[in-house]
């Protein structure tokens, strides 16, 4: 174990997987000579050479297509987008090519490709660079969608994503790159896709949350514990498709109340799906309507004060948890 940043944990995962399997290679804007826009690929060009760490032009759809073709002939490409907001230009390659290939070829082609890059809000980068679009990808059969919130999860899940034979959309938190956690340095360490983790145990309300808002939720759990005596259980599904809903259901059956949190917009968001699963599978266990805390229903503001208000901060989660527990 070593205390390391989320950025270095990802770097370690990339390095270990490229050492382990010569078919793994990386491509994207600025990943080589510049060492990555967020320095996730630092040192990889030096170790693996430009054959396996490929700088790409500003042409997301084009290099996504290259990656899909490479995966069809048996390589394991890792495609980095400078941000997931830019991947909108490549969505045809992700949704129409990568996600469909195994199905439309009748299983003749596997698609062992990982699409990764920063997602969500950063500091004042404006409406077109601050989006959390995970529900767009999670709605597509054929894709797997992962959104780690901690350094340990980032490393373990990225290694599993690279080893997976299906296309994985891997959403990193732009403001999480500098966050630190103890991370196993064992190169055999992985975290399986599709497994939720109880990040904090509790008895009175279940908070389901992924990506950066996990940290808001954990703060909120401390606040309601000390101020209201409410014991909150915090669960991070980590993989959004396929989601391990059973862990969430077990928790809701225990606590009878639930708050679902996400950085993205409420309408058709990830949380809407979680709420649907819970109401169907655990209806008779609910003691309160399921609350949701989401990003505000507007384009993302540039102004710092408004940006703060847009995000599902701890105070909003505290309010929702109290409401679910019929306090105040």
């Amino acid at each position: 174990m070593a205390l390391m940043t989320y950025r270095d944990a990802l770097n370690q995962a990339l390095r270990e997987e490229m050492r382990r399997d010569p078919d793994v290679f990386m491509m994207g804007e600025e990943v080589g000579a510049y060492q990555g826009a967020y320095k996730v690929s630092r040192g990889l060009l030096e170790e693996f050479g430009e054959w396996r760490v490929r700088d790409m032009p500003i042409a997301e759809l084009g290099f996504t297509g290259l990656g899909v073709g490479a995966a069809m002939v048996g390589l394991r490409p890792i495609v980095e987008y400078m941000t997931w907001s830019f991947a909108l230009l490549a969505i045809d390659g992700i949704v129409n090519a990568a996600a469909k290939m195994r199905y439309m070829s009748g299983g003749q082609f596997k698609m062992p490709i990982t699409f990764r890059g920063p997602s969500g809000v950063a500091n004042q980068v404006g409406a077109t660079h601050s989006q959390a679009l995970e529900s767009w990808y999670a709605t597509v059969p054929g894709l797997k969608v992962v959104a780690p919130a901690t350094a340990r999860d980032a490393k373990g899940l990225l290694k599993s994503a690279i080893r997976d034979d299906d296309p994985v959309v891997f959403l990193e938190g732009e403001l999480l790159y500098g966050s630190k956690e103890e991370v196993p340095e064992d190169e055999n360490f992985t975290i399986p896709l599709g497994v939720s983790e109880v990040k904090r145990e509790g008895a009175d309300v279940t908070i389901v949350v992924h990506a950066r808002p996990l940290h808001s939720a954990l703060r909120a759990a401390e606040i309601v514990e000390s101020e209201d005596g409410i014991s909150a259980e915090v669960i991070d599904p980590r993989t959004l498709r396929p989601m391990d809903i059973d862990t969430i259901l077990d928790s809701v059956r225990k606590t009878n109340r639930c708050v679902v949190v996400e950085e993205g917009w409420a309408v058709c968001g990830m949380g809407a799906q979680v709420v649907d699963d819970i109401q169907r599978e655990a209806f008779d266990y609910l003691d309160a309507p399921i609350a949701r805390v989401t990003g505000a229903d507007t384009p993302h503001p540039y102004a710092k004060n408004l940006e703060q208000l847009h995000f599902p901060q701890a105070d909003l989660i505290v309010k929702a948890a109290r409401q679910a527990c019929y306090r105040k």
Partner: protein, 426 residues
Amino acid sequence: MATRIVMSKLSPTMEEGRVLHWVKKEGDPVEPGDVVVEVETDKATMEVEAMGAGVLRKILVEDGGTVPTGTLLGVVAAPDEDISAILAEAEAGAVAEATAATDGAAAVAAATPATAEAPATVSAAAVEVAVEPAHQPAGDGGRVKASPLAKRMARENGIRLEQLNGSGTGGRIIKRDIEAAVSGGVAATTVAAVGSEAPYQQVELSQIRKAIARNLVTSMGPIPHFFLTIEIDMNRALDLRAELNKSLEGSGAKIGVNEILIKTAAQALAEHPNVNVAFADDHIRRFTRVDVGVAVAVPDGLITPVLRNIGPKGLRQISAELRDMVDRARGKKLAPEEYYGATFTISNLGMYGIDEFTAVINPPAATIMAVGATVEKPVVVDGSVQVRKRMRVTLSCDHRAVDGAMGAEFLATFRDMLENPLRLVL
């Protein structure tokens, strides 16, 4: 065309019913087959479906109201239809069961079997009576708001939601309200002690409790009971059970003592048909098959699901049926015909460590068998003392139909079969 929704007689022992919850509110459109209201009979909760289309024009008995069977609960009619005649009739108390039964109420007739044998489907029971059109009143039916969890907990604890005040948003009844009620605060009103009288809680009678009380005073009073007790050596029967269960390992099936008692009783009754009877005023009914009732404790009372025609059934089938019946009995999911009309009943309190007891006959049957715990005790066998597993059973008999010697002969056969369980395969 207006149709009436009436508190129908949904089981042979039902004299009154309680409106649990109106699913539809006044003014709601209604299609034939829609569940309009849930009613609680003396032993089960049933959904009443609409037989006609229109809107629910009038609710006459609100949630929680208890009324005699035959009472008009509500009226479904076209929005502009004149229903004043029906309402006036209800006011005058003129809606009788007879009306319901005659005016094309086939569904209800089928749903209220006069005897237990009639296999009826009772998922729906609404009454449809044609009346002439007229004009419209309105109002909003009071709806009890409760969380799904609270509703489930209330059901499991036999608590009536409409007695509670909800502490959740907008008066919603939530988990903590039910917990408070269960711990004694709300559902049961505490009455202060007067003089030397001990303080007590006044607990409202549930429908099932009322049914038990009503039915059993028709038993111990009018029926001349007598009791016969016999002690049975259970070693071989228990060995047989263990052996059977070993052979069933991995199949998911498991034979319990009750199944063996049910099977044995049926075999013994086949040899003593004069005990498989009911007294019916001017004649005795000697049943030609054995339907065994099994007393099951449920949260607010007791219910006796009936396993039909045990004679040809094997232990494994009896076991499966028993398990299903007990599960559904605990969930209050039994249809009325499933808990009526046993020709013989077994009540087993052995699991509570009761050595022996007497049971009150559940009419119309003429007998009931009370089974105590199987205990190890010293017994003299061929002049020496041995430790044996012994069980005491007591047969209550209706002396009008069964005499002492008849009951004793039956019990002797019952004992011999259990002590030589291979007789069961004969």
